[in-house]
C-alpha cells in the first residue's frame, strides 16, 4: 500500500493556481523529499495533504483512503505535520504538557500523563521541560516538542515542512538524528520539504525537485549523491550547494 498517492493534483489559493498537475506515489515506510525553489509550491502540497489548503482538484489518498478537502478527525490519526517555524508552532500561553495532552484529549485517549512522559523521553527531552512555557525553550527544544506533538496520535505518515531550516547546524543535527531514529523505530513514512540537499542525502530515500509549481524531476538519493541529476535546474541547485 502506498502511504501517499497524489494524482493530477492542482492546488490554488483563491484565484491563483500555484501547483500544477502533480503525480506522486510514496510507498509506506519511505522517506521522500521535496526540494526546489522558494515559492514553488512545496509547502502547499503538504498543506493540501493535511487538509489545510482545501482548494485543490485531482486525487489525494493517504494510507489507501481518499482525502477530503478539509481536516477531519479520522485522518489526524494517520497523518501529522511538523511546521518550519518552531517559534510559531507552539501556543505561547500553553505549557508543553498542555500542548502534548491536547491531541489525546481531543481523541479521548486515556493515560495522558504517562503518554506525555513517554513521548518526552522519546524525543529526548528531559521531564523538567514538561511544565515550561514555549518561551522558556530554545528553538531546537521547541522543534522537538512540535515533533512530539505530531507523534502523540501515533500517525503513520509525517509531513515535515522544513523542520530544521530555522535552526543552526548543531541543533539541526540533533533534530535530524531524532527524525531518523523515530522513523526507524516506528516505521514512519516521511514527506519532507527542504532546500538543503545534504539533509535530503542524510534522511531521505528519494526526492522530487520542484520549480514553478511543477515537479521537474524525481530521483533516488543515490543519484543525488553521485550528482547524477538530469534537469538543469536540479543541477543548478546541486552546484550551488557544493559551492565554489
Amino acid at each position: 500500500m502506498n502511504a501517499i498517492d497524489l494524482k493530477n493534483l492542482d492546488i490554488a489559493y483563491g484565484d491563483t493556481k500555484v501547483v500544477f498537475d502533480v503525480n506522486l506515489s510514496i510507498p509506506e515506510g519511505e522517506s521522500f523529499a521535496l526540494v526546489g525553489e522558494s515559492g514553488s509550491g512545496k509547502s502547499t502540497i503538504l498543506r493540501a495533504i493535511a487538509g489545510l489548503a482545501p482548494d485543490w482538484t485531482g486525487d489525494i489518498s493517504v494510507m489507501g483512503g481518499a482525502r477530503s478537502h478539509h481536516v477531519d478527525r479520522n485522518v489526524s490519526r494517520k497523518v501529522q505535520m511538523v511546521f518550519q517555524d518552531p517559534y510559531g508552532s507552539l501556543h505561547p500561553r500553553k505549557t508543553i504538557d498542555a500542548a502534548l495532552s491536547e491531541p489525546l484529549a481531543i481523541h479521548g485517549l486515556g493515560n495522558r500523563g504517562e503518554r506525555v512522559e513517554a513521548m518526552l523521553t522519546a524525543v529526548g527531552l528531559d521531564q523538567r521541560f514538561r511544565f515550561r512555557f514555549p518561551h522558556q525553550l530554545s528553538g531546537g527544544q521547541r522543534q522537538r516538542v512540535a515533533i512530539a506533538r505530531a507523534l502523540m496520535l501515533e500517525p503513520k505518515v509525517m509531513l515535515l515542512d522544513e523542520p530544521t531550516s530555522a535552526l543552526d547546524v548543531s541543533v539541526q543535527a540533533e533534530i535530524l538524528n531524532l527524525l531518523k531514529r523515530l522513523r526507524r523505530e516506528q516505521g514512519l513514512t516521511f514527506l519532507l520539504v527542504t532546500h538543503n540537499l545534504p539533509v535530503v542525502s542524510f534522511l531521505c530515500d528519494r526526492l522530487a525537485v520542484m520549480r514553478h509549481g511543477r515537479i521537474v524531476e524525481v530521483a533516488d538519493v543515490a543519484q543525488l549523491k553521485s550528482a547524477d541529476l538530469k534537469e538543469p535546474y536540479s543541477r543548478e541547485l546541486l552546484a550551488a550547494t557544493e559551492g565554489g
Binding site: V71, G88, P92, T95, P103, H107, R132, F133, H135, A146
Partner: protein
C-alpha cells in the same frame, strides 16, 4: 526547602499549577517595576478596600439627611462638605465606591466576554459568518452610544443595575472588533493549524486557543476603558437615568451637584475627584499591563 520566590521563578516547574502561578508572578513583578502602574495598582487596591470596609470608614450614613446642615463647605466634621440634602459627601463617596466597583466589574464581565466571543467567532470562521456578525457589530457601533444606553435604561427601567447592563450592551462592539482583528492574526498561526490537524473542532479552538490569546489585549483595553465606563454611568446620571436616588453613585452625585458648581463647588467636585482618581488608577494599571502582557515582548527572552 525552596523559598517561595524560587518556587515561583523556577525554570522547570513541576506542575501545571506552578507553571501558571509562576507566570502570573512574573507579570506581577514586571508590573511592580513600573512606578505608574504601581500607583495605579495602589489606587485600585484602595478602591477595593474602601468598598469592602465602607461601613467602618464612612463616618456618617450615606443617606442620612440633615436639612439644617446642607451645603456646608469642607470642614473637620465633614471632610468633603455636605450636599443639598445635608448628607456627608465623604461618606457618600466612600459608599459610592461599592457602586463604582460594581459597575466596573459587571461591565467588564458582561461586555468584554461578549465582544470577545463575537469577535473571535467572526474572525475564526470568516466568510458569511464574519460578514454577518461584523455587519451587526458595525450597526451597533454606528448607533450613538449614549442613545443606545438611554434606550436600554428607558426600556429596562431606571436603576443602577439596568444602567450597567445598558453600558455593557453599548460597549461590546468595540471589543468585538479588537477580538476579531486579533483573531485574524492568530487564526492562521501554525499552532492553531496543529490543533486542527489533531482533530480539534472550532469550539475547542476558539475557547481554548484563540480566546486566551485575545484576553490579554482585552484586559488592557478594558482597564483603559474603565474611565469611560464610569463616565458613561455619570452621563446617564446627568440625564437622570443612572442610579436611583438616594444611591451615592458618583456620576449621579456630580450630575446633581452641577447646579451648585459655581457657588458650592465641592458638591460636584469631590465625587469628580473620586472618579478622576479611580479612572487614572485603571488607566495607569492598563498602561502597565500593556507593556507587560504584550505577547510580543513575552515571546522573547
Amino acid at each position: 526547602m525552596m523559598s517561595n520566590r524560587d518556587w515561583l521563578l523556577a525554570d522547570s516547574p513541576t506542575s501545571r499549577l506552578q507553571a501558571n502561578v509562576g507566570r502570573a508572578y512574573r507579570v506581577f513583578t514586571a508590573l511592580m517595576r513600573n512606578p505608574l502602574s504601581v500607583l495605579g495598582g495602589v489606587i485600585i487596591l484602595v478602591l477595593l478596600l474602601t468598598a469592602a470596609f465602607a461601613p467602618w470608614i464612612a463616618p456618617y450614613s450615606a443617606v442620612g439627611q440633615d436639612l439644617g446642615n446642607r451645603l456646608m463647605p469642607p470642614s473637620a466634621a465633614h471632610w468633603m462638605g455636605t450636599d443639598e440634602l445635608g448628607r456627608d459627601i465623604f461618606s457618600r463617596v466612600v459608599w459610592g465606591s461599592q457602586i463604582t466597583l460594581t459597575i466596573v466589574l459587571l461591565v467588564a464581565l458582561i461586555s468584554a466576554p461578549l465582544g470577545l466571543l463575537i469577535g473571535a467567532i467572526a474572525g475564526y470562521f470568516g466568510g458569511w459568518v464574519d460578514r454577518f456578525l461584523m455587519g451587526f457589530t458595525d450597526i451597533f457601533l454606528s448607533l450613538p452610544k449614549l442613545i443606545l444606553a438611554l434606550a436600554f435604561v428607558a426600556a429596562l427601567g431606571p436603576g443602577i443595575n439596568n444602567a450597567i447592563i445598558a453600558i455593557a450592551i453599548t460597549s461590546w462592539p468595540a471589543y468585538a472588533r479588537i477580538a476579531r482583528a486579533e483573531t485574524l492574526t492568530i487564526r492562521n498561526a501554525e499552532y492553531i493549524q496543529a490543533v486542527q490537524l489533531a482533530g480539534g473542532g472550532p469550539v475547542r479552538l476558539i475557547v481554548q486557543h484563540i480566546l486566551p490569546l485575545c484576553t490579554s489585549s482585552m484586559i488592557i483595553r478594558v482597564t483603559l476603558d474603565m474611565a469611560g465606563v464610569i463616565l458613561t454611568a455619570a452621563g446617564l446620571g446627568f440625564l437622570g437615568l443612572g442610579a436611583q436616588p438616594p444611591l451615592p453613585e458618583w456620576g449621579a452625585m456630580i450630575s446633581r451637584g452641577r447646579t451648585f458648581i459655581l457657588d458650592q463647588w465641592w458638591v460636584a467636585t469631590m465625587p469628580g475627584f473620586a472618579i478622576i482618581i479611580v479612572s487614572l488608577g485603571f488607566c495607569f494599571l492598563g498602561d502597565g499591563l500593556r507593556d507587560v502582557l504584550d505577547p510580543k515582548s513575552e515571546g522573547k527572552n
